[in-house]
Symmetry: C2
Subunit: 360 residues, 2 copies
């Protein structure tokens, strides 16, 4: 299996990636909403361009450093979904605005005031709303409407919309609960925007939707934009939530069996420093593609320790290979400098994780 | 606080590092055992050299790529505590043996056979023993003695000792349990080596000890080497296990408050992509230095969401900074390209995480 690659290696199934990218673009188009994928998942300029070519209106970044890499790659429309604070970052943001359209999300007049001092055309901002994750923002309705008014009063910024991340949707127990959370996410923002409009502040952007919720939230009337990230690669978390399958899980860590200490124990050369510790202990948190009878017991930093079901003990001798699907693709990809793109079952190209390490 | 650094930034208290390095070297010397620190924690040539200058006999690496970086830095004695398998790695190992003394640990005749084909002087190997973690190796006593005999029969390798990692010690509930596990770890290997000796295979190296167990295991008669790694930086896991304090926790992520959405909620610009997800949800898994009244609720990829105790709500406004101590220093450091060394409370030097990304 990919004999030319030594292990551990990050492999990306580009056929699955193209299909994932196309399917999400179609979902957005069918509902008439914009698609602005979060590039934190891949951090690769080539894949950001693929998303834009498939119909995305631009990209979402968490870090200014990620946004700079994307602008270098010719991406001209960037949402920085993170409050940008402090003089060094504000200077970089001013430079970035010279070469791309940049919006910023935030939840305080303090952060808005910094942006307002940038000069040039007003900075377009989206106000983050707390729809249940309890991260940034105030609750929908009156608390957010008041905050929008406060921020709109800050010189040098224009509030263009509302934004949320329904991170609590990851705790959904079934598709019905997930769909309900996603619809509530969209409706909360649409209703809050209507309240703002009645009070004289027209908001034209309603930006919602992570990978699990995007397909549902896109259907809520009034939503204008979805921002899924993980959908390009998927992972076992998306499989558990019912929005991905092993076939659409496009990012895998190719690894080799380096020990068989007992008849049923199989140890691979990939641990948390390749797969990340995200999701530790949750059922099926790391899966080996095509090997449903192999179950992960635990990860060390450089080891994956797994167990074969009875009757399979003669499989996977030392030297055998498997493709491990991470629990959290964004975290696993971020541990590699380079990925290997696979097409038609063959290693076709090398992809640099160009924005990895852009922590600021 | 370190105004010249933008955040998030990895800062290393070099005064604490020197003290940690010296204290462990003294512990090893007092017990008359060798110290071979695991460099996976820092991956920095400067700090490996500091450890050797303080008395370490050499270093431990998990990856061939790490070992190559250390040999480049002039480290001449390396234990590769990982089974090295496959032609590409064996070719690299042969080249590495030209410029450093290299030993390898393993638990199978299969892996030994590959090493045996390298040519040159026999490869010195240590056999990994399962003292309770259930990762590599067979149990101590008869099962391991049989394995040692099998591996000793492989042409081209010499079994020089036994090695274990008592990873299960991390689950200790108190110092007494930790000490007992550590002593058992040493005694198991010493007794097994005596059995091998009676059967004609003399083993001169008994290599044990991670950071929590090293101080106890070093005192077991017959132990020859300890291999702690995390002790150079420490983390909240070591604090929980009672082998570190906030003062000796030398690796921190300097971060900035970017949101105060409620009176008690404080959000920092550092998440799992700076601190890693290791230890998620365990009590006090991320701590803010000097702020015992601040408690972490959760991490997202780029956010740390924390809560102030009642009475402290006027602290930590947007723009304030804190030093976050990771749950697992090895995983957090591995997320940065560069660390900033602090001496006497001032930023003094830049340290490259040179072996980060050396995944193979």
């Amino acid at each position: 299996m990919y004999a030319e690659l030594d292990t551990p290696a990050l492999i990306i199934d580009l056929d699955a990636v193209r299909s994932n990218v196309t399917e999400m673009a179609k979902t957005a188009a069918r509902h008439g909403v914009g698609l602005r994928p979060h590039i934190k998942t891949h951090k690769m300029p080539e894949l950001a361009r693929m998303q834009v070519e498939a119909g995305a209106r631009g990209v979402t970044c968490a870090k200014l450093g990620e946004a700079e890499v994307m602008a270098d790659a010719g991406i001209g429309d960037i949402l920085l979904a993170f409050p940008i604070w402090g003089e060094p970052k504000l200077r970089r943001l001013a430079a970035l605005r010279e070469r791309a359209r940049v919006r910023v999300s935030l939840d305080s007049p303090d952060v808005a005031a910094g942006l307002g001092r940038l000069g040039g055309p007003p900075v377009e901002v989206l106000v983050e709303v707390d729809t249940g994750q309890h991260r940034l923002g105030r609750p929908p309705g009156r608390p957010t409407a008041d905050l929008v008014a406060e921020i709109a009063a800050v010189p040098g910024v224009t509030v263009v919309g509302l934004l949320t991340l329904a991170g609590h949707a990851y705790r959904s127990r079934d598709a019905a609960e997930l769909a309900a959370t996603a619809r509530r996410e969209g409706e909360d923002l649409v209703e809050t925007a209507a309240l703002c409009a009645r009070e004289g502040i027209a908001l034209r952007e309603i930006s919602v939707g992570c990978t699990p919720t995007a397909r549902y939230a896109a259907g809520v009337a009034g939503v204008t934009e979805i921002r899924p990230g993980t959908y390009i690669f998927n992972d076992t978390t998306m499989m558990r939530l019912g929005v991905a399958t092993e076939r659409t899980a496009a990012a895998r860590v190719l690894s080799t069996v380096i020990a068989r200490p007992t008849p049923d124990r199989v140890v691979f050369d990939a641990g948390t420093k390749c797969l990340a510790a995200d999701g530790t202990g949750s059922p099926g948190w790391i899966r080996a593609a095509g090997l449903p009878h192999l179950h992960l017991d635990f990860l060390n930093e450089e080891h994956a320790v797994a167990r074969l079901e009875p009757g399979h003990e003669d499989e996977l001798p030392v030297g055998a290979r498997a493709q491990l699907i991470p629990s959290h693709a964004c975290a696993a990809v971020n541990l590699f400098d380079v990925a290997h793109g696979v097409e038609g079952g063959r290693v076709a190209t090398e992809l640099r994780v160009a924005a990895r390490g852009a922590v600021r």
